[in-house]
């Protein structure tokens, strides 16, 4: 699905990613963990195409296409979804209008007919239920006045609506209480199937109790310094990052 080779990237002239290699196949869930400042969010943003982040070398291939040469919106239309760590507010634009536009732009790009308003509404009701959003949230402006938890739920709601091929979820668990964490995780598990893939970017092991990854990678100083199965998370939880990073610093 996505293959990242020797990816280096910088922001404001500072090199953050120092050569990332990662392959994610359909049906897999990968977790990227690491201490603050290790480059986790940078990786997510470079892949999504945030203009502040500049990829200086390496390649990212997504569905056999060169991702880095694509405009941000085309990456999205190809099936790449970024769940934001800090979802932005867009006053005056209802969730419904926003999502309808997004879905139809993506469908148009993929030569699919637009969703009829009825199909769209039906889908919205169905998916909202999964993340426990009531209809008032749907008609409210995008993220405007939402609590931290509501914003994160809204990200997962969008994930379910847009049905991308690859979801990169950047710190989706941060700031959530245990109930909200359960709802959000449940949404991700609903989304997951053998044709799509998920990359979880997270600080903590607790998210992985709910969404079980196939692979875990530890990112440190812009490099993946250790990869393993889900048991790696438990080890990290127990010992912290020090035991791996010691030799690296």
């Amino acid at each position: 699905m996505i293959e990242i080779k020797n990816l280096k990237a910088k922001i404001d002239g500072k090199e953050i990613l120092q050569g990332i290699n990662l392959q994610v196949n359909a049906g897999e869930v990968h977790a990227i963990m690491g201490p603050n400042g290790s480059g986790k969010s940078t990786l997510a943003n470079v892949i999504a195409g945030h203009e502040k982040y500049e990829a200086t070398s390496g390649t990212v291939t997504f569905n056999e296409k060169d991702l880095l040469s694509m405009a941000t919106e085309d990456r999205a239309r190809e099936g790449l979804f970024l769940g934001f760590q800090y979802p932005v507010e867009i006053p005056g634009v209802s969730n419904a209008i926003f999502l309808q536009t997004a879905i139809n732009e993506i469908r148009k790009y993929n030569n699919l007919p637009e969703l009829t308003p009825k199909d769209f509404l039906d889908k919205m009701k169905e998916k909202a239920k999964i993340v426990g959003m009531d209809s008032s949230l749907i008609s409210r402006s995008v993220n405007t006045g939402f609590s931290g938890g509501e914003k994160k739920k809204n990200e997962i709601f969008q994930l379910l609506m847009l049905e991308p091929k690859l979801a990169i979820l950047d710190e989706t668990d941060s700031g959530l209480d245990i109930d909200a964490l359960r709802v959000v995780s449940n949404g991700v598990n609903e989304f997951k199937n053998k044709n799509n893939a998920v990359i979880l970017v997270t600080h903590y092991q607790r998210l992985l109790d709910y969404i079980v990854p196939d692979f875990i990678h530890v990112l440190y100083n812009g490099k993946i310094i250790k990869s393993g199965g889900k048991e790696l998370a438990l080890e990290l939880e127990e010992k912290g990052y020090d035991w791996i990073t010691k030799g690296e610093a």
């Binding site: 634009v93 879905i103 732009e105």
Partner: protein
């Protein structure tokens, strides 16, 4: 591929779609202003004597006044002798049948999308079409007359309903009000006159469409809307002009009277030629609009201002009667070198009067956009309340947004609230929408429309759609 081409064409053409010139024979006065010209206009319009005298008095008063310099706009001195004060298509009289109207004029309004052929167009909008200094066609007059509603060009109303016109003309905006109001009173040549009788709810939207065509000609129209006790009317105005290199003057006066329990909803989509990318040409839009509310009456102003090189207007409401309500909803967009200094005045005189001001300013390019508003609470206005919200959005690093709120309170039992925000269309918002598959241009439109939503929802349906499109065109290419 062809779709892409269409898009490119649309983008390159879309600077100003209404900029064509109609090739038609016009009767024009020589340039310049004098008592003689004022009398000639009066004569051409077949004014009754009181009107001629009124014009001359206004002209003489104007001579004693100085052009106001307080707005935050800059422009070279206007040479009032270099302006033509009257210009009309040769066929100046309104005709009963459209068959007799010059086909060039018909084509013009067709091109502008203005419904002047009743049977072909939406049946719920009556239109008065004004071309330079005269009205070309007013639709649905007969249908409206059945309910006693008068909707006619002002010059026709002066003839057919002289008592009504005499009673209200200058009653809200006297010629002594300001420099441009005096000028308008002296040289106005057309406008619309609306009268809704007691207790009548006007069954359709009334609208006037103003078109400037002739070169070097100023347009000076006067609109008077009277809603008698308990009546209701929704009135819309729109305007466009050809693209020309020199600046043209538009100095209109609008007077509204809402009697006891009446309601007037007045909406404007102002789209005069804004000048080119380098700030050359464009309309100077210096307008005085004011309404008076009697007891329990309500006046709502809604304006979408996207055009004009310079806009200078403050639609105001005098809340004279107890429990009356004034509202002002405004979106003002400036791009390139446009300048706008616009806002409102809410004058609370009666008890328990209420006013709401929602102003959205959007500046792009090198433009300057100012909100200027006055909330005045008179000493007898016990329980008066005002809420003002002024939001500015910046789309570039070279534009300016300014807010000048003036508050004068002479009554302690009143409440005035003012909120103001300034924001930039943020990269993060655009990235967020991009990441959901929405291209930058569409993302900007979405963000800006969201910003204006509180105002757009006040517009009648068809106008809201037009306003949304206009906004997109005005701001095309201004981000990224």
């Amino acid at each position: 591929m062809s779709e892409e081409k269409d898009y490119i064409n649309e983008v390159t053409d879309s600077e100003y779609k209404w900029g064509f010139v109609t090739d038609i024979e016009e009767e024009e006065f020589p340039k310049g202003l004098s008592e003689d010209i004022v009398r000639r206009i009066s004569n051409t319009k077949n004014d009754p004597e009181w009107m001629t005298e009124y014009r001359v008095k206004a002209y003489k008063h104007w001579l004693t006044l100085k052009e106001p310099k307080w707005p935050k706009v800059e422009y070279p001195e206007i040479d009032f002798q270099d302006i033509r004060y009257y210009s009309a298509p040769k066929q100046a009289e309104q005709l009963d049948s459209l068959d007799d109207v010059d086909p060039e004029l018909l084509k013009t309004f067709e091109k502008l999308g203005i419904p002047i052929e009743e049977q072909k167009k939406l049946s719920n909008v009556a239109v008065d079409a004004v071309f330079d200094s005269v009205s070309v066609k007013t639709t649905f007059q007969d249908t409206l007359m059945e309910k006693g509603i008068i909707f006619s060009p002002l010059s026709e109303a002066i003839k057919n309903h002289p008592e009504l016109v005499k009673e209200y003309f200058g009653s809200v905006v006297p010629y002594t009000d300001n420099y441009y109001a005096a000028l308008n009173a002296a040289v106005f040549s057309e406008g619309s006159f609306v009268y809704i009788p007691k207790g009548v709810r006007c069954p359709m939207e009334l609208s006037t469409y103003f078109r400037i065509n002739s070169m070097d000609t100023g347009q000076f129209e006067r609109t008077i809307v009277i809603a008698d006790e308990g009546a209701y009317v929704s009135y819309l105005e729109g305007c466009t002009a050809p693209m020309r290199d020199n600046n043209q003057l538009h100095a209109a006066v609008v007077e509204l009277v809402a009697k006891k329990g009446a309601q007037i909803k007045y909406s404007t989509v102002q789209n005069w030629y804004p000048g080119d990318k380098d700030g050359k040409g464009g309309i100077y839009n210096f307008v005085t609009k004011r309404g008076v509310c009697e007891e329990n009456a309500k006046i709502s102003w809604t304006q979408v201002e996207t055009g004009s090189a310079i806009t200078w207007k403050y639609p105001s409401t005098v809340l004279k009667g107890d429990n009356s309500i004034g509202e002002f909803y405004s979106v003002a967009v400036t791009n390139n070198y446009q300048q706008a200094d616009t806002g409102t005045k809410m004058v609370h005189l009666g008890k328990n009067t209420r006013s709401t001001i929602v102003s959205k300013g959007i500046s792009a390019g090198r433009s300057n956009n100012s909100y200027r508003g006055l909330v005045k609470i008179g000493k007898n206005a016990d329980g008066a309340r005002n809420f003002s919200q002024c939001d500015s959005m910046l789309m570039s690093d070279k534009c300016g947004a300014h807010t000048f709120p003036y508050i004068e309170i002479d009554n302690k039992n009143s409440t005035v609230e003012h909120e103001a925000t300034t924001s930039k269309v943020s990269e993060d918002q655009i990235f967020y929408l991009n990441q959901r598959g929405i291209a930058t241009e569409d993302a900007v439109n979405m963000i800006v429309n969201g910003f204006c939503k509180e105002v757009f929802k006040e517009l009648p349906m068809e106008f809201a759609v037009e306003a949304t499109k206009l906004l997109a065109l005005s701001l095309e290419g201004s981000v990224g």
